[in-house]
């Protein structure tokens, strides 16, 4: 299914499911609207992680977010991987799956990183073609996230926002706009983050990611190890206003705090979303269930 044929559910405000919180989530049933699971953590297991995710999916909507589709790679598309993702997505009733505008493997080697692409026409054609084929195999809408990047290629001929927006339109897929990544890349490359957000096709944006970063002397790293930074909150408010109220997912992957800290951060996201937040709970899709049900 292509993104233009999908009606993305208005999921509300969720957090990334991490194993450190498994017990808390199952026992305390926290007040979050949905969870997002890192796809690859659940593809090769028939054990405890999958048992937990099944139980979470009984109670909350679960979105699958991958890191290994390697949509920009010049290796062949991994069809076995895509079929496994589809199987898991159907099991979790995930309304779409997401991954990144990047490459992460080549010559059969997995580098386990979200590596940057040159933003030029040949690369765009290559990625659009693969995205369309991946979406066909998945049979589900696919949303691509803008990555944080630390280098830019001299051969790039267009800004990242143009590449990402054209990818969404030409591959007929969705976007997962990571507002923190926009900010990190903007600082690392010296572009205006607001210009990036303003260039996003609002109807293609399925949801937002928020996370913290780490500022070093020479660059910013996307570490997901802290609270969302103030400039990112301001950018997020602008993105919500521009896109008309989209679901939002908080990621925290290092120095992970207790769950109540995440809940407080989500409450701040609701406040920052402002008027847009009110539209997040209208017209729920069939997949979505109320929080805490």
């Amino acid at each position: 299914m292509r993104a233009s044929a999908a009606s993305p559910p208005r999921l509300g405000f969720g957090v990334g499911l991490r194993s450190i919180h498994f017990t808390h989530v199952l026992e305390k049933r926290p007040h979050v609207d949905f969870f997002e699971a890192v796809t690859e953590n659940f593809l090769g297991t028939r054990g405890r992680p999958l048992e937990v995710l099944d139980r979470v999916a009984e109670r909350w909507p679960v979105l699958l977010h991958g890191v290994s589709m390697s949509i920009g790679s010049t290796d062949p598309l991994d069809l076995d991987y895509l079929r496994r993702v589809r199987e898991l997505a159907l099991r979790m009733r995930s309304p779409w799956v997401s991954d990144h505008v990047c490459w992460s493997s080549t010559s059969g080697q997995h580098l386990h990183d979200l590596l940057p692409l040159p933003y030029d026409e040949p690369t765009l054609r290559h990625v659009v073609d693969r995205a369309r084929r991946a979406q066909d195999v998945l049979g589900l809408p696919l949303a691509f996230e803008n990555p944080s990047t630390y280098l830019a290629f001299r051969r790039s001929t267009m800004p990242e926002w143009e590449f990402v927006a054209r990818l969404a339109e030409e591959a007929d897929c969705g976007l997962l706009l990571d507002v923190n990544n926009v900010y990190v890349s903007a600082m690392n490359h010296g572009f205006d983050p607001e210009r990036y957000v303003d260039a996003m096709p609002a109807d293609r944006v399925f949801y937002f990611h928020l996370a913290g970063h780490t500022r070093l002397a020479t660059h910013i790293l996307d570490t997901h190890s802290d609270h969302v930074a103030d400039p990112v909150w301001r950018l997020y408010a602008r993105a919500q206003e521009r896109c008309g109220g989209k679901p939002t997912l908080l990621e925290w992957d290092e120095s992970i705090p207790t769950f109540p800290v995440l809940e407080r951060e989500l409450r701040r996201a609701k406040r920052a979303a402002g008027k847009g937040a009110g539209r997040l709970f209208q017209g729920r899709h069939g997949h979505a269930r109320p929080a805490g049900k």
Binding site: T106, Q109, F153
Partner: protein
Amino acid sequence: MTPDPDPSLASLQEWMRRRITAPGARDRRDDVEVAPSDTLDPSARLDVYAGMYFLRLREVLESDFGAVAQALGHAGFDRVVRAFLKAHPSRHYDLNAFGSRLPRFLRARSRFLSDLARVEWALTEVVHEPLAPDLDRAALAKLGPDEWEGVRFRFAPSVRLLALDFPANGYLQAVRDGKRAAIPRPSPSWLAVYRRGFLVWRMTLSRPAYRVLDALARGRTLGDALRSVVRSRDVAPAELENALFRWFRDWAGEGLFAEALPPKTRARRRAFAAVDGRTRRARAEIVRAKRFSSPAPVAAASEAVPAAATSASRTTARRRASR
């Protein structure tokens, strides 16, 4: 039709792969391909990715092999990780499987570390194996005295049996208790690693207990397993008799067995009949297809036979599920 990949992009990715996986591999192409930022030159920007590549995979291995990392110390573990990455670069998207070769890799360096890594890897493996229903003890109780000798046991998938040259489990426990532990001297030890619910357990075994379990896990009958222990003279027959009840009570109680398979039971006959029935049906399809000279059903039916025959066999990111 799938277009050929852009050769220029393929070359760029292959160069970048080599550049970020080989430490200190700065080259002239850095400046050709990468633009500088206000604060970093092209090589420094590539080094950000090179540094993250190593640190990410080091972190994965440290999370699976924390006691090995502690035994080696920070610099020693760094060296092992670098050598391991060179020998076994990741070929799979699933980071949970990345450390599977480390125990064997360590064997050439240290038999103790290899044993310790085997224990830690078993802990990871059983987390990702499904649980099995508890053994049906009522069915077991109905066995006649003459049937016990021929009983076989199907183990729960989330069980691993280890025979070790070193007391690696004791070392692991000391590390987890936050105690300073010296590298132990060689001394054989035996261990069962298994999962009950969400928790993973380690059960130390005596040599004869391990022999019995190992023989059963290999599909031998209980009679054969016990005879191998008696032949080994690890335990006197009278002691074995006393120990057996306790062992089986513990093993069954801990969920090591998924099923007891008495010789020629109805259940086994049913299983055989089911496979046999599928085979017969598939053969009938083939015959029917041949009769009507239609190639499609032949292919479908031919595929159905191995699929049915193997249906009972087990199959097993940056951010990963932890133990």
